[in-house]
């Protein structure tokens, strides 16, 4: 029954025109970035190199490659994708309540828990497809347009060069981690959706939570940094970057296959998983007890 329900939920999601807004928006944003870099990539590299330009001996032409462009796209877009995820996940229950179909669904011989789990699972599939779409356009598209070379990662403390043969797996891992982070956002939007009768509320509320948490996390206030930021899921959503921070030899050569702080990434992954389970649990239990009045 669960698989049957999941199929039905996916069918409903992918028959809705708004579903394709996210795919279209991602395609437009990625193509715009790729076009801009193709036209004015050198200026971009100079901007990033900034004051360290003189001390960093590396050809600009080699820096500007498909891996660098994909890394740049991920840094730029993964902040905005939660909005696109909320657009669908926030609509899952509230949208049905608003349409009047929720009452019809609940009168069918399906347990409310199964109904909710199938809806959430459908949103997970949607997130995965969105990330896959992003990966195809950002990674494969950039490799096609700019070729491959070593990846230069620009950090606050300096630069790291990752050999081209050591880069691809890091992107796959980063997309995998980003999927987990976006599933957490989907779970939040899904939970809020249970308490609303139209989808605008949970979508806006999800985006507001992400914005407020991000501001708290970025404010350089010691109290926030010590007591709040480590516990906010938005802090851990950036964990994917850890795959591009590598260990180096004393001669400052990056060690292939290494990750600077694997424990921090495991911890971020666990925090995101716990948050997702918490949001999902609250959503399912609340729905089970809810009187359907819509």
């Amino acid at each position: 029954m669960f698989l049957n329900l999941l199929r039905i939920e996916l069918y409903k999601i992918f028959r809705k025109p708004r579903t394709y807004i996210a795919f279209g928006a991602i395609a437009v944003m990625i193509l715009l970035i790729q076009f801009a870099i193709k036209v004015q990539g050198k200026e971009l590299i100079q901007f990033f190199l900034g004051s360290q330009d003189a001390t960093f001996e590396y050809e600009e032409g080699k820096i500007l490659n498909g891996y660098f462009v994909c890394f740049f796209i991920l840094n730029t877009l993964l902040i905005h994708v939660p909005l696109l995820v909320a657009l669908i996940a926030g609509d899952l229950v509230a949208g049905e309540a608003n349409m009047g179909t929720l009452r019809l669904l609940v009168t069918k011989p399906i347990s409310r828990e199964t109904l909710m789990l199938s809806k959430f699972s459908a949103s997970v599939v949607y997130v995965m497809m969105l990330l896959l779409w992003m990966a195809v356009l950002a990674l494969l598209g950039s490799i096609f347009l700019f070729g491959t070379n070593d990846l230069v990662v620009i950090k606050e403390t300096g630069f790291q060069i990752i050999q081209s043969s050591d880069v691809l797996w890091r992107f796959f891992a980063a997309f995998g981690f980003a999927t987990l982070a976006l599933i957490c956002i989907a779970a939040l939007a899904f939970m809020l959706s249970v308490f609303a009768e139209n989808s605008i509320g949970p979508i806006v509320a999800t985006v507001c939570v992400v914005i407020v948490f991000t501001i708290i996390q970025q404010l350089q206030v010691p109290m926030f940094q010590e007591y709040a930021a480590p516990y906010l899921f938005t802090t851990h959503m950036l964990g994917w970057k850890g795959f591009f921070y590598v260990m180096a030899t004393p001669e400052n050569q990056s060690i292939p296959g290494s990750v600077e702080n694997p424990w921090a990434m495991v911890k971020s992954g666990l925090v995101l998983t716990l948050y997702a389970l918490l949001f999902l649990g609250v959503g399912v239990i609340s729905f089970k007890r809810k009187d359907i009045l819509s």
Binding site: M1, N4, L5, I8, Y11, K12, R15, K16, P17, M99, G100, T101, R103, L104, L105, V106, T107, K108, P109, I110, S111, R289, D291, I292, L293
Partner: protein
């Protein structure tokens, strides 16, 4: 005839408001049971409790001889329902809607059976039209087709003729009578159209302010020398 629905001391409290107050009634197998009351009398709340959309504050509901609270899925499998205005998936066609809800009811019918159901409510010609192009009356008829697609034993209808024109009302009336008389289905129906109820109902339950006012066979309640259903209803609920 056995009891298909048996409700005992049913109550529902919403904060300060008692929407349904100690309501008890039975619905016999194979009959059309009319459910009447003024706006806000508690009809929709009662129907939603029968369909597990709302949890009762107190009381017991038995359907098909089984307690609803412990046999929800087993019971719902045998019920078809139209609850107020049936808003369906507007971005899907009538055919896709009925197919989707058939699968949710646990059946995987062939196309011909689904088309038969649409034909039964006069919508086969519009099977491939998106529901957002439908009038309220057409949605109402599609809702009825969806309620019947899994061949339920009990059909619960909350205001099923809302938004229908006179011909549509007559068609639904004939369909309800056919379901009851020819197919032996039990119909529990609420409606504001008293003249319609008078024509189709075998038994009647009238509630006011959440409480039962009267229940019994229509023939006994409305003897010719007494009055019309409208007069009777108004005298009870004023």
């Amino acid at each position: 005839m056995s009891d298909i629905i048996r409700v005992q001391h049913l109550s529902k409290q919403f904060d300060e408001i008692k929407a349904v107050d100690d309501l008890s009634f039975t619905v016999k197998q194979g009959c059309v049971h009319g459910f009447l009351g003024q706006n806000g009398a508690g009809k929709s709340t009662t129907i939603r409790m029968l369909l597990t959309l709302i949890r009762p504050t107190e009381g017991e509901i038995e359907i098909f001889g089984l307690p609803l609270s412990r046999n929800r899925r087993q019971i719902l499998r045998r019920i078809g329902a139209v609850i107020e205005k049936p808003d369906l998936y507007k971005y899907l066609s009538a055919y896709d809607n009925i197919r989707l809800f058939a699968r949710l009811s646990g059946i995987k019918p062939e196309r011909s059976r689904l088309m038969d159901q649409l034909d039964r409510v006069g919508l086969s010609a519009r099977a491939q039209s998106k529901v957002h192009t439908f009038s309220q009356g057409m949605k109402q008829r599609l809702g009825l087709a969806i309620a019947l697609v899994h061949n339920p034993d009990l059909v619960i209808l909350d205001e099923p003729v809302n938004g229908l024109d006179p011909q549509g009302i007559a068609d639904i009336r004939n369909l309800i009578l056919h379901l009851s008389r020819e197919e032996g289905k039990t119909i529990f129906i609420s409606s504001h159209l008293l003249s319609e109820m008078e024509m189709i109902a075998d038994n009647m339950l009238i509630i006011d302010k959440g409480r039962k006012v009267v229940e019994g066979p229509v023939q006994e309640l409305l003897t010719p020398e007494k009055r019309s259903l409208e007069d009777y209803f108004l005298s009870l609920t004023r």
